[in-house]
């Protein structure tokens, strides 16, 4: 009888544990990359397709925005739990009063370039009409325009390449892994003369990273950590298996009708993976550099993009510790930044 009771108890325990694990696996997590499906987000597709997210116990749903939709509006509307943004874009959002946490920094460099449509140095095109993304990622270009006295007339568009090809603008702000190759595919001649690379002119500010709101982060630190780790794992796998990665990307491209091709996506992946390597260490670090935050913040203040500098670590946080859970709140009772602080929940920070 006693053994029967034990057996029943054991069975109940197993069922309970299985249910708990199953419930954990059902954690739904909507991730919105900031643009349409392409190799720029290959690591996430890989993590999804290879089951890295599932292994981390997260049911990730990758939902791309529309061409004119700014990703922050999705976060604000609770349409997604995390998104990708550039460092400068994140600073601007924080400055507008939305505390953010960087849970994984993928890019270690700046991918932004300006391409002149008139085969001249973009720095000589004062007052020119320059196309810039409506998705809101051109803060650095705007800072540079002000700082260098170029006074560009910004033409905000969903597709700057079409304006460029039609001869409607004098130049466009482009990503060296995306529009740059689209222009080449449109038969445009790009050279050192008509391409201005920010990374080579003192503007090498880290680009893309994964962000979530501070509030969500505080409540889901473990989930954020697992998502970040699985995403990183996806990127590392992509770097090791570029050909298989392109096949996975193609699947997402096709599903989202992105209107691209494997040649462009292969070039893009190669460039994005290169951007992940820190120029100084020569390694793929997956961390947000404090000096980069400081530099970006200073540039944004000088460019009047934000009202005041946003520092890297606020109020005694230890955001660079491997423990993600400690990135969001401090021991002194302060909970998160209040518009003037920048949280970092990157488990790889300081690695």
């Amino acid at each position: 009888m006693k053994s029967e009771v034990l057996k029943i108890c054991s069975l109940i325990t197993v069922i309970t544990l299985a249910s708990a694990l199953a419930g954990k696996a059902q954690e739904r997590f909507v991730f919105t990359p900031q643009w349409k499906a392409q190799s720029q987000f290959a690591g996430y597709y890989v993590a999804q397709e290879n089951g890295f997210y599932k292994e981390a116990g997260i049911d990730v749903d990758i939902v791309h925005p529309t061409s004119t939709q700014q990703v922050m509006s999705r976060i604000r509307n609770n349409e997604c739990q995390a998104t990708t943004m550039s460092l400068c874009q994140a600073l601007e959002v924080i400055d507008k009063g939305v505390p953010l946490v960087n849970i994984l920094q993928t890019s270690m460099n700046c991918a932004i370039v300006i391409v002149s449509a008139h085969n001249v140095n973009p720095l000589t095109q004062k007052g020119a009409r320059v196309g810039i993304w409506s998705s809101g990622n051109g803060q650095l270009a705007e800072c540079m325009s002000k700082k260098d006295g170029l006074n560009y007339q910004w033409i905000i568009a969903a597709n700057t390449v079409n304006l460029f090809v039609a001869g409607a603008v004098d130049a466009i702000v482009a990503m060296n892994y995306n529009e740059y190759y689209q222009l080449m595919q449109a038969g445009k001649q790009l050279s050192e003369t008509n391409v201005y690379r920010f990374c080579d002119h003192g503007y090498n500010i880290q680009g893309e990273g994964i962000y979530m709101t501070y509030d969500y982060y505080v409540k889901h630190k473990d989930q954020a950590r697992r998502f970040a780790e699985a995403s990183r794992r996806g990127w590392e796998w992509a770097a090791a298996h570029p050909e298989e990665t392109i096949r996975i990307v193609s699947k997402y491209v096709k599903a989202n009708r992105s209107g691209t091709n494997s040649e462009i996506q292969t070039l893009m992946l190669k460039e994005v993976l290169q951007l992940q390597i820190d120029r100084e260490s020569g390694k793929r670090e997956f961390r947000l550099r404090p000096d980069m935050v400081k530099r970006a913040s200073q540039l944004m203040v000088e460019g009047e993009m934000i009202k005041r500098e946003i520092s890297y670590a606020q109020r005694g946080h230890q955001p660079c510790q491997p423990d993600v859970g400690r990135g969001g709140a401090s021991d002194d009772g302060h909970h998160g930044p209040c518009g003037d602080g920048f949280e970092h929940g990157n488990p790889n920070c300081g690695a």
Partner: protein, 573 residues
């Protein structure tokens, strides 16, 4: 038209929906239509006012097209006409209707809306579906494998037989990593709105691409015609012609080789038989080809030649035998002739005062020259002669002359008496009119006086100088009756006396140059102290050198004589 209506009714924003719907209802070729305004142009509508109409079956539905998810004022169709400041077409794009889940390849014609002050306040956008256009054009196939492509301003395909390339690839795709200057040049030409034709390798095939702009849209249409399609029949015909020519040539080659082989077969047989005949078998029987053409004639001639050759060889054998007999006889005659002249030197060993040496070398087996001498007490008779002609007749005449000289000299006659007697004897029965030139001399050894009679012979040399004759006698044997006259040289002792025939001074080399009197005198001038034998040998050697391998053109006879004073005479002096 729509734009003007909108501009006239800007104060009636609600009516924009009706205008948009009416545009679609009145223009069945339109795919959709929208009248969009600047953000917050109408406060009533807030940020967005885009009267968007779209067909729904036979009906047209109109709704607000702008939203946070679709901020139309960032779209190409809204921006391009403003930036370009003229109505324009957008790049073809895939229109996705999320609500209905439909998609369509479309292009939009866009025109700005101005308010009364001329300020741009919005854009009218009319889209047409491109499927029908690309379908219509794609059906135009001048050749079975040709196809049509259409590209936008950026070279992006919006019509292509490979649907996966439409709006995904451009004409430049693939040239980034694998540069293809021909393809890039074609793409640029199409982008520039040019019209023309290019030949290039397109997608792995040699093609002719004919391209032309599509009005003022900025788009271009091109027909890609594989070269094989255009020139396929021509290439096929060319291959057939080449194959036929090669086959014809091959057949002709085999045919002619066969013919030539057949025709040349008798010749080969004849060649083989000729080889056999050449090896000495003259008696073989030639094959009968039973032909009357050139080969038959050649065979017949060859047979005749064989017979002639056999006859000739027989005659040759006979002639050779005869010649051998004659040569044998001539050798005997030569021996006899040579035995007729003294050949033992010194001839008078007991007489130290006489240094005499002579030599006769016939040009043929037997010659017509002669020399002779004999000692009759204190008189040394000698003679050197040259019979007209050569060979056996001359040798016989020489033999007779020699016999006469020796007989007459032995009788002790004077040289002119010997000449007269010899002349009479030789003239007798001389029907062949042969003659002999001769120098006949006798030296009185005790005084050294030389009596001589020169019968038409070359003048001898004494101490290298030619003797000048007082009298000019004719050769012996020509005419009888006229006496020969003799002459005297007082004393020839101690002097070198040389008598010779014209085989010496007229000896010729291969260049037909004569030995010459000058050369003779030159040699003799250096040989005064030489013995008679040395002088004769030296002259013979000089003649041999002069001929330099040429056959002797005449008999050569030399006689050198040196008479020394006897000891008692020397003492008297």
């Amino acid at each position: 038209m729509a734009t003007r209506i909108v501009e006239r009714n800007l104060d009636l924003p609600d009516s924009m929906f009706a205008y948009s719907k009416a545009m679609l209802l009145n223009n069945p070729e339109f795919y959709n239509h929208s009248i969009a305004f600047e953000p917050f142009y109408y406060q009533k509508y807030g940020r967005y006012l885009s009267a968007y109409s779209k067909r729904d079956g036979n009906d047209v539905k109109v709704r607000q097209g702008g939203s946070d998810a679709y901020q139309y004022y960032y779209m190409d169709w809204y921006l391009l006409p403003q930036l370009l400041e003229h109505p324009c077409w957008t790049e073809p794009y895939l229109d996705m209707d999320v609500a209905t889940g439909t998609k369509e390849r479309v292009a939009s014609y866009c025109q700005t809306i101005h308010d009364r002050s001329g300020k741009v306040v919005g854009v009218v956008n009319t889209s047409i579906a491109l499927n029908w256009l690309s379908k219509t054009i794609e059906e135009r196939k001048p050749y079975p494998n040709s196809y049509v492509i259409m590209t936008g301003r950026g070279g992006t395909f919006f019509a292509h037989p490979d649907s996966t390339k439409i709006l995904c690839q451009s004409i430049f795709t693939g040239t980034i990593e694998h540069p293809d200057t021909a393809r890039v040049a074609l793409g640029h030409a199409m982008q520039r709105g040019e019209e023309g034709m290019k030949w290039l390798n397109y997608d792995g095939q040699d093609c002719y691409v004919f391209y032309k702009p599509l009005g003022d849209t900025g788009w271009s249409v091109a027909i890609v015609c594989p070269e094989n399609d255009i020139f396929g029949d021509y290439y096929k015909l060319r291959r057939m012609v080449v194959a036929l020519v090669i086959m014809g040539l091959l057949v002709m080659f085999i045919f002619f080789v066969n013919i030539i082989t057949q025709q040349l077969k008798p010749l080969r047989l004849l060649t083989k038989e000729a080889g056999t005949i050449a090896s000495g078998r003259f008696d073989i029987v030639l094959p009968d080809f039973k032909r009357t053409d050139e080969i038959g004639q050649l065979s017949e001639s060859f047979g005749e030649m064989q017979q002639s050759l056999v006859t000739y060889i027989d005659e040759l054998k006979e002639t050779t035998a005869t010649k051998a007999a004659i040569e044998n006889e001539l050798r005997v005659a030569s021996d006899i002739q040579m035995s007729m002249v003294p050949r033992t030197f010194p001839p008078f060993p007991e007489r130290k005062d006489i240094d005499l040496h002579a030599s006769m070398t016939p040009a043929k087996e037997v010659g017509g020259d002669l020399y002779n001498f004999l000692l009759n007490e204190e008189c040394l008779y000698f003679a050197v002669g040259d019979v007209s002609g050569k060979g056996v007749p001359a040798s016989l005449f020489m033999a007779q002359a020699t016999r006469l000289f020796r007989t007459l000299a032995g009788e002790g006659f004077s040289p002119e008496a010997i000449a007269n007697s010899m002349n009479s004897a030789l003239c007798e029965g001389n029907d062949t009119m042969m003659f002999v030139t001769m120098f006949i001399g006798v030296v009185h050894l005790d005084t050294g006086q030389l009596d001589f009679c020169n019968c038409g012979h070359n003048p001898p040399l004494i101490d290298g100088e030619f003797i000048t004759f007082k009298y000019k006698n004719r050769p012996l044997g020509l005419m009888d009756g006229i006496p020969f006259q003799g002459e005297i040289l007082a004393d020839i002792r101690g002097k070198q006396f040389l008598v010779y025939t014209d085989g010496l001074n007229e000896a010729m080399n291969t260049e037909k140059e004569q030995f010459g009197n000058e050369r003779l005198q030159e040699i003799l001038s250096t040989s005064r102290q030489f013995t008679a034998c040395q002088v004769v040998d030296m002259l013979k050697e000089a003649v041999e050198q002069h001929r330099a391998g040429a056959n002797p053109n005449d008999d050569l006879t030399l006689l050198c004589l040196k008479i020394e004073k006897r000891d008692n005479e020397t003492m008297k002096q």
